[in-house]
């Protein structure tokens, strides 16, 4: 009786672990992402958050701040990369962010890509101002997804928090 119970318990345990690890491997997690801007002067910045693969190519767009398509070409590399392969970004588009402001969004990242050589890139452009290809670019690791990452252009820093 005990044996049977033990076997069932073990099986259940294995099952639980395997489903958990399966979810861990193939599922995705949501993170709160806060972008704090510097006090630059000018129009609101258009910022796109992208996932970059190990070869340095655009893998996926995670979030777009700025809704007017006419400014998208200003985000040069991103626009170029997605010029041919269309993507539906309507669900992940928010408002552009002005100097000194902060912007909080939820991004969704596939768990399999964390700690797997991917990078997070924050690319920014401001009307009649310099384009920042890598305003923030950090490796997509468990560490970066719980800390603070300094920006180099219009972004002062980016913070993440599991949602």
């Amino acid at each position: 009786m005990n044996k049977i119970f033990g076997a069932v318990a073990a099986a259940l345990l294995v099952l639980t672990i395997s489903t958990a690890s399966f979810a861990q491997k193939s599922g995705s997690s949501k993170y709160k992402c806060m972008i704090q801007m510097t006090n630059y002067m000018g129009e609101g910045a258009y910022i796109v958050v992208s996932l970059i693969d190990s070869k340095g190519a655009y893998d996926k767009t995670l979030y777009v701040m700025g809704s007017d398509k006419k400014w998208y070409p200003d985000l040069k590399e991103w626009h170029k990369a997605f010029a041919k392969k269309k993507q539906d970004i309507s669900a992940i588009t928010g408002a552009s962010v002005a100097g000194g402001d902060r912007s909080v969004h939820v991004i969704e990242v596939e768990n399999a890509k964390i700690n797997a050589g991917y990078k997070l890139r924050f690319e920014s452009a401001v009307e009649d101002n310099k384009y920042q290809l890598k305003d923030v670019e950090v490796p997509l690791t468990t560490e970066t997804l719980s800390g603070k990452n300094e920006g180099t252009g219009y972004i002062r820093y980016v913070r993440f928090m599991p949602n």
Binding site: K32, M41, S67, G99, V104, H105, V106, N163
Partner: protein, 730 residues
């Protein structure tokens, strides 16, 4: 002169910016609908005014655990950003009192986005923004110059909203609407300019640089959200946004963006960490944006929309006025040195030019050397024989802008030869100083020894073609130039003649005057002082007679001239005969019913309208009649009638001057004798009416002017322009 400077700048600015202003106004009208459509949405909590942060934050925090931001927009709608149960991003309008969702924000309409972008930069990015900004600045200059023009037109700021005379619809509404929408338009222009200055950093707008001292952040004592002092004192109406702490870490704080400052608050203890007031530039910028867009107030948005519509109207009407003015400046075929006829025009809007050109063109058509120019271009005209001066009056009896130097030029350039002049004033009785400048011109000319008046000064009220024709008729007969009558008739659009029947006609007396009584068969309305136009030869030739209204009958007093076209025709009429004629309203010579006292001065047949006026004087206005005749027998015809009127109190006093019998007096002798009575009457707003021969009128004007200046210290022209001297002489 100053008028011209402002007018030219007003015009130059308008020309340089009208295309852009048209675009900006059109898009502005469309954009005004945005705040209006927003206000009507039901996203405003009824408790909005009462709720403070201390009340709203705990409610919202409880209901939406990971709320990251709260935004209060210009409509008082409270928008929150959070995530829902499924972890999906949530943006919704909520009731801050209970956290209930009132609605989801709609995306800003693509159409309004597109129009806004065009309105702001014409799709030309920085260049476009600069152009639009400059245009806003120009608009403020146009508005200011327009304001000055209105003040000058009205003669004082106090009279800013006083009545405006109607010259042409474009000009009238340009001024009327200009006065009303000046302030909103100026606000649009200045706020637009300011927003551009901010955009181009010509006004330094400091971003808020808050330095939170993390070493000083305390984590005790803990304070409940609803008890934090700063939250208790901050109503939602003062809030623009609240950024919630990113995490529960004590180093993450609340950021309150209030209408006038930005505050950071420790999320654990409620300590105020930093407090930075917004810079003046930012505050003015916000105010400018509110005023420019109407986003805070739907009523203001409507005002802005109307004002933008008015800008379009101003552009249109402004150009109509300008083209009209330019069209009126024709070219001269003969030079000023050769001209026999010189027509000098004082015109503010070009209407007077139109009338002057009728005469000018007719003279040219007759082969006469006629020269037309502005009064300000008065100089020596060595071959001139006839000077025709036509002028309107600007503001309160001032000269129009192209005539304001005339009076000084007149003294500077005396003509070397004798010449005749005739002044025709254009104006409107809507102004108190009707044709005053024309009277001044006339009086000044009378003082020049080289100039003699061919006619009394005539006036044209509200562009009356009839009154203009009256003057043309009088002038051409005196100047011995038969003007191309056909044209002058053409001006009086389709003449409708009416039927009249002769009731009685007296025999011509010794001095060859006779009385004629007729009645209108079409019961035409008229009053004493109006004119009866007859066409003795059945052609275009018209003769006018001043009428007296006795009962319902028309009474004429006619002097028989040798070979006189009109008088000869009338003399031959028989009782019961029917004639074709028409009544011309001559409103400037009507009995002034509201006047406290009236002095009537007539010689000869000039008494005719006065007989009617006296008979109609039922209100008991104090009336004194001075009349002059050659002999007593001439007066006899009227004596019984006047005695009866006197007995009934319709005329208080009758003074008779006989020039060929008894005292051998002229009517002017009687007036001179009663100088203080006359002066007193004028000073008490009494009216003097003059009817009779031109020579009597001439003497009388000199005499009256003397009386006025010596006894009242005012020129006759003063009373003239106040409608206290009414004349109808021939």
């Amino acid at each position: 002169m100053t008028i011209s400077i402002w007018r030219y700048s007003h015009l130059a600015l308008a020309i340089s910016s009208f295309i852009l202003l048209t675009l900006a106004s059109l898009t502005g009208i469309i954009l005004a609908f945005e705040p209006i459509t927003q206000k009507v949405q039901p996203f405003r909590s009824s408790d909005f005014e009462q709720v403070t942060l201390a009340k709203a934050l705990p409610v919202l925090k409880k209901k939406y655990a990971d709320i990251s931001e709260l935004i209060v927009d210009q409509n008082g709608f409270v928008l929150i950003k959070a995530t829902d149960e499924e972890g999906e991003a949530l943006e919704a309008y909520v009731d801050p009192a209970n956290g209930n969702i009132l609605g989801k924000p709609a995306r800003k309409s693509d159409f309004f986005e597109w129009v806004t972008s065009f309105h702001r930069s014409l799709f030309l990015h920085e260049t476009g923004r600069f152009i639009i900004g400059l245009d806003a600045f120009l608009l403020s200059l146009i508005t200011i110059s327009g304001l000055i023009l209105v003040i000058q037109r009205q003669r004082s700021i106090k009279r800013f909203f006083a009545k405006i005379a109607r010259d042409s619809w474009a000009q009238y509404y340009h001024v009327v609407l200009g006065r009303l929408s000046l302030i909103p338009i100026l606000i649009i222009a200045l706020s637009g300019t300011y927003l551009s200055l901010l955009r181009f950093k010509l006004v330094e707008e400091k971003k808020i640089a808050k330095e939170v001292n993390f070493d000083a952040i305390r984590s005790t004592p803990q304070e409940e959200l609803q008890n934090i002092e700063i939250f208790k004192h901050t109503p939602l109406s003062e809030v623009e946004s609240v950024e919630f702490p990113f995490s529960e870490d004590v180093e993450d704080y609340y950021t309150l963006k209030l209408v006038d400052r930005e505050i950071t608050v420790n999320q654990v203890t409620g300590d105020v960490l930093t407090e930075v007031p917004l810079s003046k530039a930012t505050l003015v910028g916000k105010l400018s944006l509110n005023l420019h867009t109407g986003r805070t107030n739907a009523i203001w948005a409507v005002v802005l929309m109307i004002a933008a519509g008015n800008i379009l109207f101003f552009i249109y009407s402004g150009f109509v006025i300008t083209f009209k003015r330019r069209k009126n400046l024709g070219k001269n075929r003969y030079s000023a040195d050769d001209a026999r006829f010189v027509i000098l025009v004082g015109s503010e809007n070009g209407t007077t030019f139109k009338f002057a050109k009728i005469v000018h063109e007719q003279l040219l058509a007759k082969g006469e050397k006629s020269f037309i120019t502005e009064l300000n271009r008065y100089k020596q005209f060595p071959k001139a024989e006839q000077l025709l001066l036509m002028t309107s009056t600007y503001g309160l009896g001032e000269a129009p802008s192209n005539a304001d130097r005339f009076l000084s030029l007149l003294k500077k350039y005396p003509q070397q030869q004798k010449l005749n002049f005739s002044v025709l004033g254009f104006g409107s009785h809507a102004y108190p100083d009707f044709c005053r400048f024309a009277y001044e011109v006339n009086n000044e000319l009378t003082l020049q020894d080289w100039a003699s008046a061919l006619l009394e000064v005539h006036t044209v009220n509200d562009k009356s073609i009839d009154e203009f024709n009256l003057w043309m008729e009088a002038w051409s007969s005196q100047a011995n130039i038969s003007l191309e009558q056909k044209d002058s008739i053409n001006l009086t659009a389709a003449v409708n003649l009416e039927k009249f029947r002769v009731l009685a006609i007296t025999d011509a007396r010794k001095d060859e005057t006779f009385l004629l009584r007729i009645e209108s068969l079409s019961s035409a309305k008229f009053t004493s002082g109006d004119l009866l136009a007859i066409y003795p030869a059945g052609d275009h030739r018209e003769r006018l007679y001043s009428v007296g209204k006795i009962g319902k009958e028309i009474q004429l007093s006619v002097k028989l001239h040798e070979n006189g076209l009109g008088s000869g025709y009338l003399k031959k009429l028989k009782e019961g005969e029917e004639i074709q004629a028409r009544l011309v309203s001559n409103s400037h010579f009507h009995f002034p019913e509201s006047s406290p006292s009236v002095i009537l001065i007539a010689n000869g047949t000039g008494i005719a309208p006065f007989l009617g006026m006296i008979a109609e004087n039922r209100r008991g206005t104090s009336v004194t009649l001075y009349c002059g005749f050659r002999q007593r027998s001439s007066f006899k015809v009227y004596e019984d009638f006047l005695d009866r009127q006197h007995a009934e109190g319709r005329v208080q006093r009758i003074e008779l001057a006989l020039s060929r019998e008894e005292n051998k007096q002229y009517v002017s002798n009687l007036v001179e004798r009663d100088a203080s009575f006359i002066a007193g009457s004028l000073a008490n707003k009494g009216v003097i009416m003059l009817c009779g021969s031109l020579s009597m009128q001439k003497d009388m004007i000199t005499l009256l002017n003397n009386i006025c200046t010596t006894q009242n210290g005012k020129d006759l022209s003063y009373y003239q322009s106040h409608g206290q001297l009414l004349m109808d002489c021939y």
